[in-house]
Chain length 166, copies 3
Amino acid sequence: MRPQDTDWAAQVRSLQDIEAIRTLKFRYLNACDDKQPDLVRDCFAAGNIEINFGHIGQFDSREAFVAVFVELGCHDHIVDMHHAENMIVDLTGPDSATARVGLRFHSINTRDQTSVQLGGHYLDEYERRDGQWLITASQFLVRSALIKDFSGDCEKVVWAGNGMPH
Amino acid sequence: MRPQDTDWAAQVRSLQDIEAIRTLKFRYLNACDDKQPDLVRDCFAAGNIEINFGHIGQFDSREAFVAVFVELGCHDHIVDMHHAENMIVDLTGPDSATARVGLRFHSINTRDQTSVQLGGHYLDEYERRDGQWLITASQFLVRSALIKDFSGDCEKVVWAGNGMPH
Amino acid sequence: MRPQDTDWAAQVRSLQDIEAIRTLKFRYLNACDDKQPDLVRDCFAAGNIEINFGHIGQFDSREAFVAVFVELGCHDHIVDMHHAENMIVDLTGPDSATARVGLRFHSINTRDQTSVQLGGHYLDEYERRDGQWLITASQFLVRSALIKDFSGDCEKVVWAGNGMPH
């Protein structure tokens, strides 16, 4: 755990890299909430990458994912909150890292008068390319789901479970 | 992204400053939940500052804000949670910084039997004065609001939107 | 606040220690959500420790706590989310630390069709033993509680307060 005295450069760089990777993930989640597809795209590496977002879909490029993000998420009646939780970064090389990033997600659909609360976590891979950390793989696993309908007189829970309805 | 070998002092100081600013914001939010107006006040710089908390009001000093905080928040029937999310700090000078700080806010009013869940973010400015980081400007933007009434037999959503009711 | 030039080793180690303690707490909370009692146990120091989790109980060893964790939490119908919030670490010595760690907890009981949302905070103590940070004391204080029953046609709030029902 303790650095060697001869190794300060690497120790400080590691702390900076963890901070930079955290910031990257936060920028990604904020861009989702802000409905800014260009900023979402720029958080991922160009070319072939692996995105597996379960019920949302699997994607092999940032462009493929962003197209679905725009279709599903970028509407005035969709009000999303994506918050990173309990984020643990592991540096796996000088320019590579993995992370487990908890997510607390809440979405209101003001047109249909429904809400979704999800908990779960991302398993991410990151690489530094041209001096910039980027997401090169991202899988999301739902672990808690609560779907409600408030279109009637009272709020109803229409789904509660450890995953999405089938 | 990578530090110059000649520049360790500044690199380590930057990491410490980011940590100190995060801690300052967390102390502020905790003091709000703990209903400790003196600790809330001490997180802000003395003198003229800019606070714009939207539906809560605009304030040009920490004293003006704390007076409203005491009036609105410091009651036994108000049960608040202020949690920082996706916090991104940018150091803008040796003794100045800005940050975007997501907030997940939840408040129960046990007297009126209502609850409010808000998501949004602060745009903050910080300065180091006499060796201590302080908030010199703070704006809060609501991005998700869900207001419920549970005084009757069932819970009702009385407001759901991307901002507060007008 | 600013490091002395002669003191880099200690400054960098402090930043690493804060990061390691954060990661320890995140691993603990994730292990709770993942229903992995062995990983929960390994976050605490062996031998005599102080755990006071209020309505859950008081425990003087990690084994005593883990037995109750398994009994209460490790069931398919219990769907938990434990998210650390506003975490503030104070290093109190070369191998000791304390922290205030906010918690946002959400639990769904899919069998009874109930849910619990809690806010509050841990007051923790940590020690480094054989190079590894471990939890040596942990107290949890509930500050916000919302318990719901959704077994009927509509969702009902059955408890809302600044602590658990008596």
